[in-house]
Amino acid sequence: MKATPLSNCERRFLLRAIEERKRLDGRQCYDYRNVRISFGADYGCCIVELGKTRVLAQVSCELVPPKPNRPTEGILFFNLELSPMAAPGFEPGRQSELLVKLNRLIERCLRNSKCIDTESLCVVAGEKVWQIRLDLHLLNHDGNIIDAASIAGIVALCHFRRPDVSVQGEEVTVYTPEERDPVPLSIHHMPICVSFAFFQQGTYLLVDPSEREECVMDGVLVIAMNKHREICTIQSSGGIMLVTDQVLRCSKITAVKVAEITELIQKALENDQKVRKEGGKFGFAESIPNQKITAFKMESAAVDTNNVEEQAEEIITKADPPSEVFAKPILHTPGTAQIGEGIENSWGDLEESEREEAAEEEGESEATAFECQKMETEDTSTMRETKTDEPIVLSDSEEEEVVILEPQELPKKTRTQTNSKQENTSKKAFNKRRKKKRAAH
């Protein structure tokens, strides 16, 4: 599907509004949209909504052999997907530039910042380590995918619990969630990305651009920072030229925003923890309906299945009986089997005409060969009668010189086609030809 392009008057309107320090949704230049975090039923599953931009994150783990050059470290794998439902312009299977850029940013933000302790993921050095896989799906695109994705990623990693493992000498035991409580990952700090959009060659700056603002911006600066004011990643794209104090100003704004968001994340994680401990209901089935007016919940309903058997009986008696089923396969020789007996082929006439033509062209021997074939096709269980002394010519072609010198008993045919025997012999001939070729080489 094609995305509708931005019209010129919309573009002009947006730029003029930004010059007057106004935004379409009424925010101030440094305001973030509302961040909402909800958790799913499994550990490591969460949905983050930044305004209307929605990202789903899921963390899963698996025991794998480690990388050869890092035998004592676990493996992290990040994957961001732009679902086609996010925007009409996203198509499945196409590696667009945007996707690559976002994936790289997420990787740098979460992997290179060493926020997850990979040494703690090692189970048996050099043999088994945990591979942690983070899948991010963009569900709705309304601007600033990277911020929402980084928040979703780090929240999911903090929320995730991996199975407990104990090592006794050579034996490794992985406990199921029922046997022992799963263990959280060891996370040092929470890096969060904040994006700044620049307009008019760096004159105007907006935090958390929406989708329309992203279409008209000149460039974007992304700073990933944690609450200890350490910059984990910084990236400027779009070719804008920024002055040092602009960058410093942005980093100060980032520090403030990150502190707010980190607090929100902590609160959300604690809430979810509390609900799970108290045994309350959790998961999307609970969180989504309560927030949306368009959602509707129905309790599990009992279905009356009393008369089901009678109804079914009626249907069966009225239905036609199934056609006869061939249950037992017949084994001829090892490697071949036949299910059912072939029916008489209805191509008898065709063979007749073939036979006539052949008789005209080739002469007697051909005709006898075909006759043998005809007998074979009609009769599936008796042996084939061949004239063992005569060489059987296979094809009408004058170029081929393949002749079977010792026709052996072929395995009984498994198909009802007329020229199946011919195909069998030609297969044998093909093998002979191949063997000849191989001998030549």
Binding site: L56, A295, M298, V303, I315
Partner: protein
């Protein structure tokens, strides 16, 4: 996008269309329907592809594609959580998506999953554990006008009588589900 949840199974459906279609996929007399099913973890594989085809054929049976020739309708389903009966949840999500988008349909449909446990008892809407322990799992798509079967798919072995019984049970369950559709649509459009 619509998001039906069956207990803890949650599927989010998003629909675009009828919209412009690329040259090769264009059908001259009807709309080209495409279904994309995205699992939560990992890349879509063969299982997802086969389910996509099943959903596509079910949807094509109800969508009046001839009213929108040379267009494309794209239905994207994202699995949010899976606790059993995933295929019928996808079917329900697809139908609600089609309904909410306002596409012309000849009837609605709903998905019902039945599991046959080793004793022969029928369990409707089984959880993942019940599905694994069951002898056979059957999923039906039932249409709304005459409760006829649009799609039937089974895993495992069961006798013909058992299948008919499951089908009859699914048809009963379909009544409840269609009532739920009606109530939720009424509620949605009365508030806005």
């Amino acid at each position: 996008p619509r998001s039906p949840s069956l207990g803890d199974t949650s599927v989010l459906a998003g629909l675009y269309g009828p919209a412009e279609v690329k040259g090769s996929k264009e059908l001259p007399d009807r709309a080209a329907l495409e279904v994309l099913l995205r699992p939560k973890v990992g890349l879509p594989g063969v299982v997802e592809r086969s389910r996509e085809q099943l959903l596509r054929q079910t949807c094509e049976a109800v969508v009046l594609g001839v009213l929108h020739p040379r267009t494309a309708i794209t239905l994207v389903l994202q699995v949010l959580s899976d606790a059993g009966s995933l295929l019928s949840c996808c079917l329900n999500a697809a139908c609600m998506g089609l309904l909410d988008a306002g596409l012309p349909l000849s009837s609605l449909f709903c998905g019902v999953t039945c599991a046959l446990d080793p004793n022969g008892a029928i369990i409707l809407d089984p959880t993942t554990r019940q599905e694994q322990e069951a002898r056979a799992v059957l999923t039906f798509a039932i249409d709304s006008t005459e409760r006829k079967v649009l799609t039937a798919t089974t895993k495992g072995s069961c006798s013909v009588e058992e299948m008919q019984q499951c089908l009859a049970a699914a048809q009963r369950a379909a009544d409840t589900i269609f009532q739920f559709y009606r109530d939720s649509v009424r509620r949605r459009y009365s508030k806005s």
